[in-house]
């Protein structure tokens, strides 16, 4: 049903909210495990940190950051709509506004995370 119904802004906003929520939850599970390793197995913890710092790990961090940022911004959108029901008429505009903030905050954030990987390629240093 979900894939058969032609989604508009409201349904897409909700679907991305769910997907990003599940992604964040999965990271929290991984994070609980890696933090446990600090005391349980420091060598394994260092290995995990190396994975996080690798190019693939950094791309994953960018995706995690994107999920967190979208979830937070759309969460604010839902909060505004919930607290002021008159704002329901602007729900699409609020969603587009959240994407503008997403891009403005997300691109510099992604650049900072990826700089050690892409910096040398772009000739601007890590």
């Amino acid at each position: 049903m979900l894939l058969r119904y032609r989604a508009r802004e409201g349904m897409l906003a909700w679907a991305f909210h769910r997907i990003s929520g599940v992604a964040i939850w999965l990271f929290v599970v991984v994070h609980v495990v890696d933090i446990y390793l600090v005391g349980g197995d420091p060598k394994a913890y260092n290995t995990v940190l190396q994975i996080y710092g690798s190019p693939i790990g950094r791309v994953a961090e960018v995706l995690l950051g994107a999920a967190l940022l979208y979830h937070a911004l759309n969460g604010l959108r839902i909060l505004i709509i919930d607290l002021w029901p008159a704002m329901t008429v602007y729900h699409k505009a609020l969603w587009y506004a959240s994407w503008v903030i997403f891009v403005l905050v997300g691109i510099p954030g992604a650049f900072i995370i990826l700089r050690p990987v892409i910096g040398p390629i772009l000739g601007i240093g890590a």
Binding site: R4, Y5, R6, E9, G10, M11, A13, W14, I78, P85
Partner: protein, 232 residues
Amino acid sequence: MHVSLRIQRFDPDRDTASHWVEYGLDVDPMARVLDLLHQVKWEQDSSLAFRRSCGHGICGSDAMMINGRNRLACKIRVDQLGRKISVAPLPGLPVVKDLVVDMDGFFAKYRSVHPFLVNDDPPPAQERRQSQAQRAVFDDTTKCILCGACTSSCPSFWARPGYVGPAAIVNAHRFIFDSRDQGGEERLQILADRDGVWRCRTIFNCVDACPRGINITRAILEVSAAIVEKSA
């Protein structure tokens, strides 16, 4: 204008599952999907089953999923849809035959919110008067025609068929905020249930689907706020 009309068909006497059947039609761009369905039924296949009554967007009989979104077949025109048109029964409701769905559960939920004026005071000599401002509070929700397009477009309803659904909440809203009504507390109690207003995820499919342009999500949120205020 030639259009390809795909209809999701299901005959409980013959079929084990629904299937798509395509019909080629020469139609006026200003024709409505209901006109196309009539054309198929009258000229190509009389076994096609669908509901319709007034044919003018008032009775709410011919809500169906048209090109992936819930619409009234008598309101949406070919020029709004293009040359490829698909028509399926309302999603999330049991199919009786072809485009006819079982609305019993939908109306049971509607009745569950007491969609009628509750006032035990003796009737006044004249009408129960109401100011324009008092009326404006619930004016939007008086427009519901109970077509079911909103409830059957709601992913929360698809996931949990027990959810009372947008249509029932809209009709509860219509009386909860009516200054002449005295049954608001009871309705708020009914809608504070786990299958009540809290199932709304502000997805707005209902608002998009409503052929009367009712701001359904706003109505749901106003009922939610009334429940919170009542319990505070």
